[in-house]
């Protein structure tokens, strides 16, 4: 791998200065020629092996955001002071933090673990959960829930059968063992993800506002304590090699080193230990060890502080013998944290760690000056300005070019697709859609996740949004949803990203919460492909402009590039997470038809919008045309109406309309609520009424005595409302389409994933 791996005599700073012409394998580590030259320029000599390992991993796409930085700046440019009002920490911190009231703050973030999960599905997914949980811990919060947006190749593809069961077991195996309820997520199948599955992991944390911790090392003489698991040979170079180079068509897996191995028990203990340390006031600064391990933690802590740092690698507890300094610094062994502690608090810090049987070692201290100096065996192997490692990585303005193929895609209109018209045809397609891999029940997946632990889960899958109680006394809570219809994004990245935002925003509002903040995980192909960069740029602009219009800030996010095999990139997938607050979770609106005899009302307007729809996908395997029109003002009006109606206790149930349109929303509302309904479609082409995926629509139920109140509120809010019918009975009857028994729907909806995955 690195030259250091085979050389037992460490390459010291003195040696590097004396041997300027010593050839170094920087290209194998992912550095370009000009990047290597720049490192030599910064240091005034060639880097040591250890320094080269640090720079290469910290300057990788995954850690440095070198291709995305210039575009991501747009998020900050579009965030106004008013939007920042409730934000206690934002982009650049380990995770964004927002105030939710009653003295509580909530932090949340999504990250990708795509490439490792393709190589080693169980451990890749497990350590994806572990990593995002440590990010949340590093803010001073108690992690309180997770959710996992997952995307795979076709459901019946052999590789999906290899990857999916392992990913789901990994998410469950790790998250369940940490005692974190899994309250949401997505499972999406599309041929575009074959060979490049997306495994994104979201974590939510809660804290009292005064407990916020930030990552910085300051105060000369303060000690640097590494605590948690030992450092081993797992995941070395994982970040730069795994995440920053596209899998080759043929030799792809050869050079991949082992994916990190997770130990959730150690992480669970580490969570409790960290919380005890925070509450005892023993931590000045804290940083998790994730991608790039100690390289990242030491350089980020030092560069965010006001001094330098000295670290002694000899005392780092190892789980393998003969590790080189470069290996120790780049190891991605899991379940480790790094804290900055005042000297007088070290003994108390160690006592807390002993109580939890957590290994903790003073590995260095904050120094005067501005260098990060790392010694090994009495000699200096690293001597660098930490900022140059952590923050001054290369910045690329990659070519951005909209490919002509985009015009072909748009020209391939879905309007020419044969549409069902006869009631019997509509019936068959409703059933076929309900059983299709993207619309069928996710229970096979979500039944492997603990959604109950800690006793605060008020809503979880198949609800529109996960709803969690934060304060047991007041009932204050949050709602979280993640969404992205990447088919829409492929047709129009700007509008598609806004549709993802709109859907997550709507899902949060559908549960009765008020949307507050946004996070994202931007999964794209290779940034070296100008069309991919165009998709990325458009998606970022769309998302940022959308957030500005809705008045909710992006508090953080993650970029995952190189999700492609050869020249074939994934569908552009900017997963958007929206977090909302609800004053009292007892006022949340449950999903589906919950009572007999309630009036079913469709809020929002339906247009003939079939481009990128699930119907076009399932029935015709078609992707073309334009996505539904984005109307964020309509989304905002709808959200305000839903919040007001929920606060009044007007709504007995609700369900967002998205993939599969009204037809699928009706089927799911019946099955989730365990009762049928009789409805009349609005006065439109029945096909359009059933399968259009127009945005800004929600299905709600209301007591018939209060239906007029709701209709009045809707009229006042400027939200179109159509009374569709009444809940109850054991059948779903839609206009003159022959009725469906709940059993029939249940069999269609529940059977698909178990039949595919066992």
């Amino acid at each position: 791998m690195t030259s250091a791996a085979t050389v037992h005599q460490a390459d010291t700073v003195d040696n590097a200065a004396a041997t300027p012409d010593h050839p170094q394998p920087y290209r194998e580590l992912g550095l370009k020629d000009d990047e290597y030259s720049r490192i030599r320029e910064i240091l005034g000599r060639r880097p040591t092996d250890a320094e080269l390992a640090m720079y290469s991993v910290m300057w990788s796409e995954h850690c440095s955001y070198k291709s995305s930085k210039v575009h991501l700046a747009y998020f900050s440019e579009t965030t106004t002071d008013a939007m920042r009002e409730r934000m206690l920490a934002g982009i650049g911190e380990n995770a964004g933090v927002v105030e939710i009231g009653d003295g509580w703050a909530v932090t949340f973030k999504v990250e990708s673990h795509n490439h490792p999960s393709y190589v080693e599905p169980y451990q890749g997914a497990a350590t994806g959960v572990g990593g995002i949980v440590r990010d949340i811990m590093a803010m001073g919060a108690r992690p309180v829930a997770v959710a996992d947006p997952l995307r795979f190749g076709p459901a019946d593809a052999p590789d999906t059968r290899r990857v999916l069961p392992g990913v789901v077991a990994g998410v469950g195996g790790y998250g369940n063992s940490l005692g974190l309820p899994n309250i949401g997520g997505e499972v999406v199948f599309d041929a575009g993800y074959l060979g490049n599955p997306l495994v994104n992991a979201l974590c939510v944390g809660a804290m009292r506002t005064e407990d916020l911790h930030l990552a910085f090392a300051s105060g000369t003489g303060n000690k640097i304590i590494l605590f948690g698991a030992r450092t081993g040979l797992d995941g070395i170079g994982g970040v730069s090699v795994l995440a920053s180079e596209t899998f080759g068509e043929e030799t792809g897996r050869k050079k991949l080193p082992s994916v990190q191995v997770g130990d959730p028990f150690t992480e669970k203990v580490l969570i409790e230990c960290c919380l005890d340390l925070f509450h005892a006031g023993l931590v000045v600064g804290i940083q998790d060890l994730g991608g790039a391990g100690l390289s990242c933690a030491t350089s980020e802590l030092a560069s965010a502080g006001d001094g330098g740092m000295h670290v002694d690698l000899d005392v780092v507890p190892l789980r393998a013998s003969g590790m080189t300094p470069a290996e120790i610094l780049s190891s991605e062994s899991q379940e480790r944290m790094c804290a900055v502690v005042r000297p007088q608090d070290v003994e108390a810090f160690m006592a807390v760690c002993r109580r939890w049987d957590v290994l903790a070692t003073v590995i260095g201290e904050v120094t005067d000056g501005d260098r990060l100096v790392i010694d090994w065996h009495g000699e200096t192997v690293v001597d660098v300005p930490p900022r140059t490692v952590a923050h001054d990585g290369p910045v690329y303005r990659r070519p951005v070019l909209r490919s002509e193929s985009q015009d072909d895609l748009i020209a391939d209109s879905p309007d020419l697709l044969p549409r069902p018209a006869a009631p019997s045809e509509l019936r068959a397609e409703i059933l076929r859609m309900a059983a299709s891999p993207n619309l069928c029940s996710r229970a096979w997946v979500t039944d492997q996740y603990d959604r109950y632990v800690r006793g605060n889960t008020v809503g979880a899958q198949p609800a529109d949004a996960g709803v969690l109680r934060i304060d047991e006394r007041t009932g204050r809570g949050i709602a979280v949803a993640t969404d992205c219809n990447s088919r829409f994004v492929a047709l129009d990245p700007y509008a598609g990203a806004q549709l993802a935002l709109a859907e997550a925003y709507r899902n949060v509002a559908t549960s009765g919460a008020v949307p507050l903040a946004v996070t994202n995980c931007l999964n794209f192909g290779s940034p070296e492909d100008p069309h991919v960069m165009w998709q990325f740029q458009q998606a970022v602009r769309g998302l940022a402009d959308g957030c500005a219009q809705l008045g909710i800030p992006v508090t953080g996010g993650n970029v995952s590039f190189y999700n492609q095999t050869g020249v074939r990139a994934i569908l552009p997938t900017p997963v958007v997470g929206v977090l909302g607050v609800i004053d009292d979770v007892a006022r949340r609106v449950p999903s589906g038809f919950r009572r007999d005899g309630d009036t079913v009302v469709l809020l929002g307007e339906t247009y003939d919008e079939i481009g990128g729809s699930e119907w076009a996908n399932v029935v015709h395997g078609h992707l073309g045309g334009r996505p539904p029109v984005v109307d964020l003002a309509a989304e905002e009006r709808l959200a305000e109406l839903l919040a007001a109606a929920a606060a009044d206790g007007l709504l007995s149930g609700s369900h967002d309309l998205s993939d599969g349109g009204l037809a699928q929303a009706l089927v799911e509302s019946c099955l989730v609520g365990g009762r049928g309904a009789t409805v009349e479609l609005p006065a439109l082409d029945p096909f359009v009424a059933l399968f259009s995926e127009s945005a800004a629509r929600v299905l709600v139920t209301v007591d018939p005595d209060r239906a007029d109140d709701l209709l009045g509120m809707a009229a006042e809010a400027g939200v179109p409302a159509h009374v569709l019918g009444t809940t109850g009975g054991d059948d779903l009857t839609i206009t003159d389409i022959p009725g469906f028994s709940l059993d029939e729907l249940h069999t269609a909806w529940e059977g698909t994933l178990p039949a595919l995955f066992g």
Binding site: P264, Y449, Y452
Partner: protein
């Protein structure tokens, strides 16, 4: 009434068990795995989770923890003990209950709301229930399949020590659909499903599970 709730490293449902104790009107007392003192509690709950990572075998390491020596001694004196999920596994490993919990027959972790039939009300934890009654509670485990040799199963059935049985479909392949059992004196009960997750319809599938916790409080009150 004071009810101890044990926390091992890796225990997860201790907060839920303590909340259920509070909802039932008793005082939860936190007990630490490394302690050798039960702090004079009137009953003990061994909650769910993955104690010590469930390494070696689920519950095996926890059964040897210092606090468990005290629990075993207290159980010998008739102190009521309830083991839930991992707690049930620990009680089996500690020899307080017969049989063992092994990998689910479907090989997946199963988190599902299911109906549980009450088979015995002859324990301090089920005294407030009615035989034949059904409770709607979550099950969430990967190693929840109760097994024992034929003679043990026969003895448990004959002596009325099967306390809970899965009412619908058997979710994990447990022998005779057994979800929970008791010790010979009925004072120690273990079950795989989670009554502490069903104490409030807001956060669980029902409030049916609360009855186990109110039962122990009532038993103590009537004994006093």
């Amino acid at each position: 009434m004071r009810i101890g709730v044990i926390t091992f490293p890796g225990t997860l449902d201790d907060v839920d068990a303590a909340r259920a104790v509070r909802y039932a009107g008793a005082e939860p007392v936190a007990l630490w795995h490394a302690d050798r003192d039960l702090q004079g509690v009137d009953a003990v709950i061994v909650p769910g989770g993955f104690s010590y990572g469930d390494y070696l075998r689920a519950g095996a390491i926890a059964s040897l923890a210092p606090i468990m020596r005290q629990v075993i001694a207290a159980a010998g004196r008739g102190t009521p003990v309830l083991g839930i999920c991992n707690g049930f596994q620990i009680l089996c490993e500690a020899g307080l209950l017969p049989g063992a919990l092994v990998r689910n027959s479907g090989l997946h972790f199963v988190c599902r709301d299911l109906r549980l039939q009450v088979e015995s009300t002859d324990t301090p934890w089920t005294g407030g229930l009615t035989a034949g009654q059904e409770l709607l509670v979550p099950l969430k485990s990967g190693e929840g399949r109760f097994v024992a040799d034929a003679a043990t199963i026969d003895r448990l059935e004959r002596e009325g020590r099967v306390v809970f049985r899965y009412a619908g479909e058997n979710p994990n392949g447990a022998l005779s659909g057994i979800a929970g059992i008791s010790s010979a004196d009925g004072r120690v009960v273990g079950l795989m499903p989670h009554p502490e997750h069903a104490i409030d319809p807001l956060t669980g599938p029902s409030a049916d599970g609360l009855a186990l916790f109110t039962s122990i409080v009532q038993t103590a009150a009537s004994a006093a």
